[in-house]
Symmetry: C2
Subunit: 228 residues, 2 copies
């Protein structure tokens, strides 16, 4: 699966959350990030034919942005307005996945009836759900990052891996799928990534094996629970 991330931010360079997310996926060969504002500034208005050709080459599309006035920045709507085709042409784009990666300056509990925002993120972003429906795309769960700058270091690294999982698999919420994803990533760690001596490498390998066993045991327990 190839993923296209369309990043909508007026100035990506000054956004700490967007810079962090970019650093989290820069080594992934199947992931392409496009800075929409940067492209517009350097190459001029979006060209429908070229944008559609690029879109065709990907299986998963991700709109990534900081929520501003409860919506994406205008540059994303500009892209939608210029690029997306209606009617029979739309059918050529069917079968993809659509994900949203949304950073908010206020904490998650405000997005609820009675909260400061008063509406859920699902409601505020429902136009993208209808868009996915129109194009026959699978609408993925929204990846919500609330108050990034207040996160502790450990939470940021957890976020980094959940975000990688979302971008590469479309899933970040299932603990089972996330565990599988982490094990695969750990198995791919070579001496090049982790230049440590033989003893520490044995310890690392033992940790990975142990984590695999814990993961397998949890999966079995979960299956038993399901059978109850």
């Amino acid at each position: 699966m190839k993923t296209l991330i369309l990043l909508a931010h007026p100035e990506v360079d000054v956004s700490s959350s967007q810079q962090f997310l970019l650093s989290a996926v820069e080594d992934l060969a199947n992931v392409t990030v496009v800075d929409l504002q940067g492209q517009l500034t350097s190459q001029g208005p979006f060209q429908q034919a070229a944008e559609l050709e690029r879109l065709q080459a990907y299986d998963r599309l991700i709109f990534q942005f900081n929520l501003y006035w409860y919506q994406a920045p205008s540059i994303l709507k500009n892209w939608l307005d210029v690029v997306l085709p209606e009617g029979s042409e739309a059918k050529n784009l069917a079968g993809k996945e659509l994900g949203l990666v949304v950073s908010t300056g206020v904490s998650a509990h405000h997005f609820a009836s009675g909260g400061r925002v008063g509406r859920t993120l699902s409601e505020l972003l429902s136009p993208y759900e209808s868009l996915a429906r129109y194009f026959d795309w699978t609408y993925l769960p929204i990846f919500h990052i609330a108050q990034f700058s207040y996160l502790k270091e450990e939470a940021k690294y957890e976020l980094l891996w959940r975000y990688r999982a979302y971008v590469e698999t479309g899933n970040y919420q299932s603990e089972h799928a996330f565990g599988e994803y982490l094990i695969k990533a750990l198995q791919e760690v070579t001496a090049e990534h982790l230049p440590i001596n033989a003893t520490y490498r044995r310890i690392f390998e033992a940790f990975v094996m142990h984590y695999e066993e814990v993961h397998a045991t949890n999966a079995e327990l979960y299956d038993l629970m399901e059978e109850w």
Copy 2:
């Protein structure tokens, strides 16, 4: 009450629904219509200070647009992003009313669970509800015009007056308020508006009086019902 209509359409001149709406309010002294795209094209990017100064002069703000990809055209988000202030500056704008006049190419019943769009117009446009909440504005009921071009002539004239009522009073759904609005408009019809001979004028005046009586009787009946 002074009303500012911010019209968001890439080409207002070619939109039959927008041209119809414009013609419906052009004689109203307390209503100002701004074609955002036209202003951007002729005067360049929105200037926050000037836009805020204009906004301050109005009590009711109306965003008017054709729904495109389940959202307003990007020009409106562009205006929001550039113009609206956060924090303490936002307090200077408190107490206004916010209305939305939204034209859709598909009929109203598709905006529902299980419908073609799958989401209600209230959900799709919920970012404006949260915006109104943020600025302490009264969020008016959405004025929804579905498939304007398929409307019969009579329906268009009904729409014209409901739209005028919405723009001038913020209300278009209450039959009582709409009746009051029509009576007031009929009472203001002079010989200049209706250049007819004395006999026809008598008939017209009799009709207006009759309509006032019917309206008053309905209001009394409604009050009785309320008391049951």
